[in-house]
C-alpha cells in the first residue's frame, strides 16, 4: 500500500463523517420528506425548493454562508458560543452540520418519492384497522418505504464522501479533524505527489462505481439520482 498515515486518517475521518451525516440525515430528513409528501400547504413549494438548493448551488456558496452564519459573529455562532460550544467552523462538528445541509436533498427526495408512492390507501386501511397515525407510520409506512430508505442512505453517504467545496470553506484542512479524502487528494496534487493522489482518487472512483452499481442493480427501475 502506498497510503501513508495521513491518508489513512483522512479515509477514517471521511467514513466517520459520512456515517454520522447519513444517520442524522435519515433522522432529520424523514419528517421533512413525510411532510413534503403529505402536505397540501402552500409552503410545500418553497420548502421543497429550499431543500433542493444544495443540488444547484456551488458548494463554495453554501460553504461561504455556513462560514458566515456559524462564525463568531453569525447568529448560529453566537448561539453556540453562548452555549459554551465555541464556534463550529474548522471543527468536525461544523463539518457534520455542513454535510447534513449539503446532502439533505439526496436523502429527502428519495424518501419523499417513496412516501408518495405508498399513496393514501394503506394509511386509510391502517386507520380503519385501529392504527393511530404514529402506529401506522411505524407498522406500515416504514416497511413499505424501506427501498426508499436504502436509496436515501446510500446516496446520502456517497454524496457526503464526495464533498469538497463545502469542506474546504468551513472545515479547513486539519488532519484527523477536518481533512477528508477529497481534501487530502487536493493536497497531494498541490504537492505534486501524483502517485498518492492516484491511490486515493482511484479508490474514490472504485467506491463510487460500486455504490452506484448497488443502487442501479438493486431495483430494476432507475433511481432519480
Amino acid at each position: 500500500m502506498h497510503l501513508d498515515s495521513s491518508d489513512l486518517a483522512a479515509i477514517w475521518l471521511t467514513i466517520q463523517l459520512a456515517s454520522l451525516t447519513t444517520l442524522l440525515l435519515l433522522i432529520v430528513g424523514t419528517p421533512i420528506a413525510w411532510w413534503l409528501a403529505r402536505t397540501r400547504s402552500r409552503l410545500k413549494g418553497p420548502v421543497g425548493a429550499v431543500v433542493a438548493l444544495p443540488l444547484v448551488l456551488p458548494p463554495t456558496v453554501l460553504g461561504f454562508y455556513l462560514l458566515v452564519v456559524m462564525g463568531p459573529h453569525g447568529p448560529v455562532g453566537q448561539v453556540t458560543q453562548a452555549l459554551g460550544l465555541g464556534v463550529l467552523p474548522f471543527t468536525f462538528a461544523g463539518l457534520v452540520v455542513g454535510s447534513v445541509i449539503y446532502s439533505l436533498p439526496f436523502v429527502v427526495q428519495p424518501l419523499q418519492n417513496a412516501f408518495e408512492a405508498i399513496g393514501t390507501r394503506p394509511l386509510e386501511a391502517a386507520a380503519t384497522l385501529r392504527a393511530s397515525p404514529r402506529d401506522c407510520f411505524f407498522s406500515v409506512v416504514l416497511p413499505l418505504a424501506r427501498p426508499g430508505f436504502i436509496t436515501a442512505g446510500i446516496l446520502g453517504f456517497a454524496h457526503t464522501v464526495g464533498e469538497f467545496g463545502v469542506v474546504l470553506m468551513i472545515g479547513g484542512n486539519i488532519e484527523s479533524k477536518t481533512r477528508v479524502v477529497s481534501v487530502q487528494i487536493y493536497d497531494h496534487v498541490e504537492a505534486l505527489e501524483y502517485a498518492q493522489a492516484h491511490w486515493l482518487a482511484g479508490g474514490m472512483v472504485v467506491f463510487s462505481f460500486v455504490v452506484l452499481l448497488l443502487l442501479y442493480t438493486r431495483r430494476r427501475s432507475t433511481p432519480l439520482w
Binding site: A125, A127, T128, L129, R130, A131, S132, P133, C136, S139
Partner: protein, 375 residues
C-alpha cells in the same frame, strides 16, 4: 340527603340505528345527505358512479376530513361538527372493506388478519381468528403473501381482516366491483353468510342491482350527492316514482318463509308474510321455516280480473291494484299491486289497462310467470 344524580336515559328507539347527516363540498361535487339507517341488517347505498356513494361511506368512516355534519351509530356519537366532536377513523369501531382489498403487501395473509385483531383490546373482541378464517374459507391462504392471491381471495381476506376488528358497523365499498362474474359468484355466498351469521349492521355501496337485490334489506338511492329515496328494499324497488321502476328489468324483492318442498317436482313453496298466498318455484330445497328472498320482474307479472283457470302459470295470487304510472316505454304502464302487504310490480300495455279498467282499489289476480330465488 343527596339528590339522585340525574341520568340521561336515551329513548331506546331513538338511540338505535344510524343517523347520518353529511355535507362535503368539493369543486364540481357536493354531498349533502340526511340518512336514517336501521341498526341491523344490510343497508345498500345505490347509485351511478359519481352519485356520492363512496364519499358517503368515507364520511361514515371518518376518511373525509372536510365532512361537516352529524353521525350517531347505535347510540354513540362519532361526529358532531357543531359540538366539535370528530372521532378519528382509528377510534371508530368500524370495519372497512375497500374496493380493491388494500391488503398490506409487506405482510402475510395471517399478519394482515392479525393487524386489526391485535389492535382491539381483548375485552372488545367478539370475532376470533378461527371464526373469521372459517367464515370466509381462507384457512389455506394464511402463509401466503397478498401478491400471490387471486382477486377473489384477496377480497375475502380483506373482509375477514375487517371483521376481526369486531366492528360495530361494517362498511363495504363495492367489494365485488373489481371481480369478474365467476369471482363474484365465489364471494356472494360468503357475504350472505355474513348477513345471516353476524349481527353487525352493514352499509354496502354498490352500483350493481343484482348485488343489492340479493344482499340489501334497506336501500338508499343516491343521485348527484343527494339521497333521493331511503327505505326497506321491497318498498323502494316497488316505488313507481323512482327511475328503478322505469328500467327494462324493473323487479321487486319479495321475502317469504319456506313452507314446504315437493321433491317430485322439485317445487319449493314460499309463504308471503301476513298472507295465505304462496309463491312456488323450482329450486333446490331450502330448510322449511327459513327465509327465502325472491325476485319478481315486472315484465313477468300479468294481471287478470278473474282467477284464471287451466293455466300453465303456477303462481296466481289475489292482489289489489295500488296505483299506476307510465313505464319508460309510452305504450306500457307499471301497475303496483298489493298482495296482503307484499308489493309487486306488473308491466301491462295501456290497451290492457283500459280493457280491464284497472284503477286504484280494483281487486285482481296477479299471474307470475317467473320467480327467481336470490337467497
Amino acid at each position: 340527603m343527596h339528590d339522585p344524580i340525574p341520568t340521561v336515559v336515551a329513548d331506546a328507539a331513538d338511540a338505535c340505528g344510524i343517523e347520518a347527516r353529511f355535507r362535503v363540498d368539493y369543486p364540481g361535487f357536493a354531498l349533502d345527505v340526511d340518512l336514517r339507517l336501521p341498526g341491523r341488517g344490510v343497508s345498500a347505498l345505490y347509485g351511478h358512479s359519481g352519485s356520492g356513494k363512496t364519499t358517503c361511506l368515507r364520511c361514515l368512516a371518518g376518511l373525509e376530513p372536510a365532512a361537516q355534519g352529524y353521525l350517531r351509530v347505535n347510540g354513540d356519537v362519532w361526529l358532531d361538527t357543531g359540538a366539535g366532536i370528530a372521532l378519528p377513523t382509528h377510534r371508530r369501531p368500524l370495519g372497512y372493506v375497500f374496493q380493491e382489498a388494500s391488503l398490506f403487501p409487506h405482510l402475510t395473509v395471517l399478519r394482515n388478519l392479525r393487524f386489526g385483531l391485535t389492535r382491539v383490546p381483548g375485552g372488545q373482541r367478539r370475532v376470533d381468528l378461527d371464526q373469521a378464517v372459517e367464515l370466509l374459507g381462507i384457512g389455506h391462504l394464511l402463509a401466503r403473501m397478498p401478491a400471490g392471491l387471486s382477486g377473489g381471495e384477496r377480497q375475502r381476506v380483506g373482509i375477514a381482516r375487517a371483521l376481526l376488528t369486531s366492528p360495530r358497523l361494517l362498511l363495504m365499498d363495492e367489494p365485488l366491483a373489481s371481480l369478474d362474474v365467476a369471482r363474484k359468484q365465489e364471494i356472494l355466498p360468503y357475504l350472505e353468510r355474513l348477513h345471516d351469521e353476524l349481527d353487525i349492521p352493514v352499509i354496502y355501496v354498490s352500483h350493481a342491482p343484482q348485488e343489492v337485490a340479493r344482499l340489501a334489506d334497506h336501500l338508499v338511492l343516491l343521485e348527484e350527492g343527494r339521497a333521493t329515496a331511503s327505505g326497506p328494499i321491497a318498498q323502494i324497488l316497488a316505488r313507481l316514482d323512482l327511475p328503478l321502476a322505469m328500467a327494462e328489468d324493473a323487479s321487486v324483492v319479495v321475502q317469504g318463509t319456506v313452507a314446504d318442498f315437493d321433491p317430485a317436482y322439485r317445487l319449493m313453496s314460499v309463504r308471503l308474510p301476513g298472507s295465505s298466498s304462496r309463491l312456488r318455484v323450482v329450486h333446490r330445497p331450502l330448510p322449511t321455516g327459513s327465509t327465502a328472498r325472491l325476485a319478481v320482474k315486472a315484465r313477468d307479472v300479468s294481471v287478470a280480473l278473474a282467477q284464471p283457470q287451466g293455466s300453465s302459470i303456477v303462481n296466481v295470487i289475489p292482489v289489489r291494484v295500488l296505483d299506476m304510472a307510465p313505464a319508460g316505454n309510452p305504450d306500457h304502464m307499471l301497475v303496483r299491486l298489493d298482495a296482503d302487504g307484499t308489493l309487486l310490480l306488473a308491466r301491462v300495455t295501456r290497451y290492457s289497462r283500459d280493457q280491464l279498467g284497472l284503477a286504484p282499489g280494483v281487486p285482481a289476480w296477479a299471474q307470475i310467470k317467473a320467480v327467481s330465488v336470490l337467497a
